[in-house]
């Protein structure tokens, strides 16, 4: 023990000496932004890489990293290679706080990119120095409209269209295509669900008596959704909205099959976008039994869902085509799906934002560049990125799943894209006239 203590004293002395060196070094590099060196730009991300909420979502971060690796091989951003530090928050808010603190205070990242989850990121914004240190917080992977608040969260920018937008567009589609039908909904009883309900209300969509069902987040995995699906069936709802996360959709679809969906019961299911990736749904089902997978596919067939990106199966799309190439070469062994597409597209936006921030980027210049130029960035999305207002994409198209789980535009041909905003003062939805920029040559942005 005494020896250990003496060592400790020596370490202490060494720290004092080192402090002097660090001190002089700091002043010499005072102008450099955190996380930016001559050769690298270090970015940070937290996401559910493990745990019950991770299936599907855990592919987004690695897909971003794969795209950055591709860009690095092409020369990086003005010669700097992008380093992505990806931390696993397990979808647990307390852990997200720990990980974001680590990224900002110990790893000293330049910016955060693609942090995933409403509750996790709410906690991080409250309990970490994102705001205090002005850390750019780009392309948050959640549709919670509360994050698009330049006054409250000046450096936070959304990526997904908000859940309010999605609900408004979904409501318009239901009112147009299923007039007079009884509508029911299953939603998650938190900010995610509240956002959606606010959108439906703004659009004037009403639900049949007994047809408004909710589940406490995660209860789908522990107590199941039988009570809620039974109530929806009893309510006589002919159109049922499943506005939950992927694991909840998966449980709901299996439960619906058990309650006779496809044989004695035939409501039209409409899935919220964040819970609708078919590959993940079928993988989740397949993890239990083959029968569960078959039941999920049976419920999925003919269901509708909304998307802001092209279908991952649309291999004719120039973005999808290029991203598949990159995924094959730089994300080896990872099956291509909608989550990978989300990540690749997000990473391409990050590269454009970094380029727009200039040859010697600062945190402030990155935020400023995104606000002023983000709307012009190339992206696979079929709607405009409203980064001037810290909002993400602003439109959706409606698709239908076939018997193999592939989604395609509901009326065939090119998707019809609807656009709106997050206002709850009205339910206005318009058909989008947005013209998507072409994919940059070789998938490498050259903007400034």
């Amino acid at each position: 023990m005494i020896r250990a203590l003496k060592n400790r004293v020596r370490v202490g002395a060494a720290l004092v000496a080192l402090a002097g060196l660090v001190s002089s070094g700091v002043s010499a590099q005072a102008a450099a932004a955190p996380g930016v060196t001559k050769d690298t730009i270090t970015l940070g991300m937290t996401s559910a890489q493990s745990g019950a909420a991770s299936p599907g979502y855990n592919k987004v971060g690695p897909a971003m990293r794969a795209y950055f690796d591709y860009i690095n091989e092409k020369g990086g951003v003005y010669g700097r290679k992008i380093v992505l530090k990806l931390e696993d928050d397990k979808y647990v808010p307390t852990n997200a706080v720990n990980k974001v603190n680590k990224l900002i205070l110990r790893d000293k990242v330049f910016a955060l990119v693609g942090n995933l989850g409403t509750a996790t990121h709410t906690a991080a914004l409250k309990k970490t120095p994102i705001i205090k240190q002005g850390v750019p917080d780009l392309f948050v992977n959640t549709g919670y409209s509360g994050f698009a608040s330049p006054k409250k969260y000046p450096t936070t920018f959304m990526y997904l269209p908000s859940y309010i937008m999605e609900a408004k567009i979904m409501a318009k589609y239901i009112k147009d295509k299923f007039p007079g039908k009884k509508v029911g909904i299953l939603y998650q009883d938190d900010d995610f669900g509240k956002d959606g309900l606010a959108g439906f209300k703004a659009a004037g969509l009403t639900f049949v008596a007994g047809g408004t069902q909710k589940y406490a987040s995660l209860s789908q995995a522990t107590v199941g959704l039988t009570a809620q699906l039974t109530a929806l069936k009893t309510s006589g709802a002919e159109v049922i909205i499943l506005f939950g996360v992927t694991s909840a959709t998966a449980v709901a679809m299996r439960t619906a099959a058990a309650l006779g969906y496809g044989t004695t019961w035939g409501p039209q299911f409409i899935l919220g976008s964040v819970g609708a990736d078919p590959t993940t749904l079928l993988t989740l089902a397949g993890a239990t039994t083959a029968e569960a997978r078959a039941a999920t596919l049976r419920s999925l067939t003919g269901a509708l869902s909304l998307s802001f990106l092209p279908a991952a199966t649309d291999t004719e799309d120039e973005y999808v085509k290029k991203f598949i190439e990159i995924n094959t070469a730089y994300n080896k062994g990872v099956a291509w799906d909608n989550n990978v597409l989300v990540g690749m597209n997000q990473a391409m936006l990050v590269v454009q934002a970094l380029r727009a921030a200039g040859q010697n980027p600062t945190r402030a210049s990155l935020v400023s560049a995104l606000k002023s130029k983000g709307g012009t960035f190339a992206s696979a999305a079929y709607s405009k990125l409203d980064s001037a207002n810290n909002v993400g994409f602003t439109g959706y198209w409606v698709g239908k799943y076939n018997s193999t789980g592939v989604i395609a535009p509901v009326d065939g041909g090119k998707p019809v894209v609807y656009t709106t905003d997050s206002s709850t003062a009205n339910g206005d939805v318009a058909t989008s006239t947005f013209v998507r920029p072409a994919m940059p040559a070789d998938g490498v942005p050259t903007n400034s």
């Binding site: 202490g12 402090a19 019950a52 979808y91 307390t94 720990n98 993890a287």
Partner: protein, 561 residues
């Protein structure tokens, strides 16, 4: 076991006499105390004695003394011995043995390590147990005089102390700055009134909410005078423990939720619809309690069974469910027990000091406003969704309407007078606290930081007005924190841990204690704070320190106290 209240009464009388004499704290004088008795063995001279107020003290000076004296002030000791049959706390209390370092006199590891490094150590047991800040400062002043007379080789003095000892250290620095060269107040307890008295407050809310949700037979407030009241406090502590064990046992074993049979005020329909763990967590959130504890990190899930795909799938759900739904409630359960000892026995002490009347009041507390939107989102799962949150808040509103706490005005006024700490920084000071500290919770440290920053800003403005150089900062704050993940499991469930740095009450790692001493010694030698680079490097060199000075802690205002 017989309660030692005769001794307590004697001590109370002594405390009152000290108060009557007044806290006129002047230059130290050793004239009234007998000279210490000293012996030398193993290259250390040890002196013991009593100050004029009969407080026992001890001084140890190594042969290779480096010139720095570390004057330790120990924390709160209950006013009487707690009966042996009281779980966890039985046998503790009324401990007036001289204490020269953290852990001493029972565990001398740290004391010996510091002696080995050449520091001289000293400390008193103080004259009275219980809340004794002003009395203890007087004792310390006299003790410094004894030391300086006996050991003129002392070149500099670092005062340090934890919990109530942190308060004593800060008060010593406020009232007698010329006697010490640096102050290290560790978890200094302040704002007694805001914590335990009017307008709810941490200690008040935690106990009152627990009582209403889980056992209305808990007295909690307005204890009877004398031994009967101490017995009531002991009974209350036992009831809190019993209810916690009832809830926690089910949660840890199977996640099954059990409302204790004593939860008689909660309607059966609510019990059927909402798990007890959500109510427990709501208590933690509304009172401002840390949501990580010595055993529960708020993150780690139950082990994953990888024996088959199906088993892995099922156990992954359980793993995440434990993290999101159970971890925060289990942490509150553990912290509640930690708080309950102080909230019962220390409340009894304080009520005794203010005339045996209740000083707690929550008539004007809007509990619904104490739950922030961020907390609703962050703990949505554990609180059983929006419906669960709204239902629990409605229940609390009903409790308050039916049985609000009403303070005795005279008792409350007297309580405020016990709170003498001003936060004035008169000597270079480094304050320490932990992010998950259960007794001196975050707002107490935030208050110190705010006070010190305001004082410095005023000094800078005054210097600027006189076109003088801005004065250097005299105050720095360090936050200890637990590691990200530390919950452990064995076949029976989560493993109970008691010494996790950053959690519980005054829990630091050994290297952290050594960091404190090193920084204190450096400060005393320099007569100013170490450079920012050294402070930052210290913070960044150990994962149990929060790696920046500006930890965004809760304040009294932010939690609605």
């Amino acid at each position: 076991m017989r309660l030692t209240l005769n001794k307590t009464r004697r001590n109370m009388a002594l405390l009152l006499s000290v108060a009557l004499v007044g806290a006129v704290l002047g230059f130290p004088s050793a004239a009234t105390a007998a000279d210490p008795t000293c012996t030398t063995a193993s290259a250390v001279t040890t002196c013991t004695g009593e100050t004029s107020d009969t407080a026992k003290y001890e001084i140890r000076v190594p042969d290779d003394f480096n010139g720095t004296l570390l004057l330790w002030s120990h924390g709160y000791t209950y006013v009487a011995k707690i009966p042996a049959q009281v779980p966890l706390l039985g046998g503790s209390g009324n401990d007036l043995r001289a204490t020269i370092a953290p852990g001493a006199p029972d565990d001398m590891k740290m004391a010996n390590a510091l002696l080995n490094q050449g520091y001289a150590l000293a400390g008193s047991g103080f004259a009275v147990p219980g809340w004794n800040a002003e009395s203890a400062v007087k004792t310390n002043v006299e003790l410094i005089g004894v030391i300086k007379k006996k050991f003129p080789t002392v070149k500099r003095t670092v005062a340090w102390g934890a919990s109530l000892g942190g308060t004593i250290t800060q008060r010593l620095a406020e009232t007698n700055p010329k006697l010490i060269d640096a102050a290290l107040p560790i978890m200094a307890f302040n704002n007694i009134d805001r914590v335990t008295g009017s307008n709810g407050g941490y200690g008040t809310d935690a106990v009152w909410l627990f009582k209403m949700f889980f056992d209305p037979t808990i007295k909690g407030f307005g204890y009877t005078a004398g031994p009967a009241g101490f017995g009531e406090a002991a009974a209350d502590f036992g009831k809190v423990l019993a209810a916690v064990v009832a809830i926690q046992g089910g949660l840890q074993k199977s996640g099954a939720d059990t409302w204790p049979a004593t939860a008689s005020l909660v309607p059966a329909a609510v019990k059927a619809a909402l798990p007890a763990r959500s109510a427990l967590l709501m208590i933690g959130l509304l009172s401002g309690m840390p949501l990580r504890s010595s055993s529960f990190d708020g993150v780690t899930g139950t082990p994953i069974d990888t024996s088959s795909i199906a088993a892995a799938s099922a156990s992954t759900s359980a793993n995440t469910g434990f993290s999101l739904a159970l971890q925060p409630a289990l942490a509150v359960a553990e912290n509640m027990v930690n708080i309950a000892g102080f909230a019962t026995f220390a409340r009894y002490d304080l009520e005794t000091q203010v005339g045996n009347k209740n000083f707690a009041d929550n008539q004007n507390v809007d509990y619904a406003k104490k739950l922030s939107e961020d907390e609703r989102a962050t703990y949505n799962v554990a609180l059983s969704g929006e419906a669960g949150i709204d239902g629990l808040l409605a229940l609390v509103a009903g409790f308050k309407q039916a049985a609000p706490l009403k303070a005795d005005a005279d008792a409350l006024a007297k309580l405020k007078k016990l709170d003498t700490m001003t936060g004035q920084i008169n000597v270079p000071t480094i304050a320490f606290n932990n992010t998950e500290e259960t007794v001196e919770f975050q707002p107490m440290m935030s208050w110190m930081i705010e006070k010190a920053n305001a004082q410095h800003a005023a000094a800078v403005a005054a210097a600027k007005a006189k076109k003088k150089k801005a004065p250097a900062k005299k105050f720095a704050a360090f936050w200890g924190q637990p590691l990200d993940e530390y919950t452990k499991f064995n076949a029976a469930g989560p493993v109970v841990q008691s010494d996790t740095p950053g959690t519980g009450h005054v829990k630091f790692s050994f290297p952290q204690w050594m960091d404190m001493v090193r920084l204190g010694d450096m400060t005393a030698r320099l007569k100013r704070l170490p450079s920012q680079a050294i402070l930052d490097l210290t913070r960044e060199s150990d994962p149990n320190w929060y790696p920046a000075e500006d930890f965004d802690a809760d304040t009294f205002e932010s939690i609605g106290s």
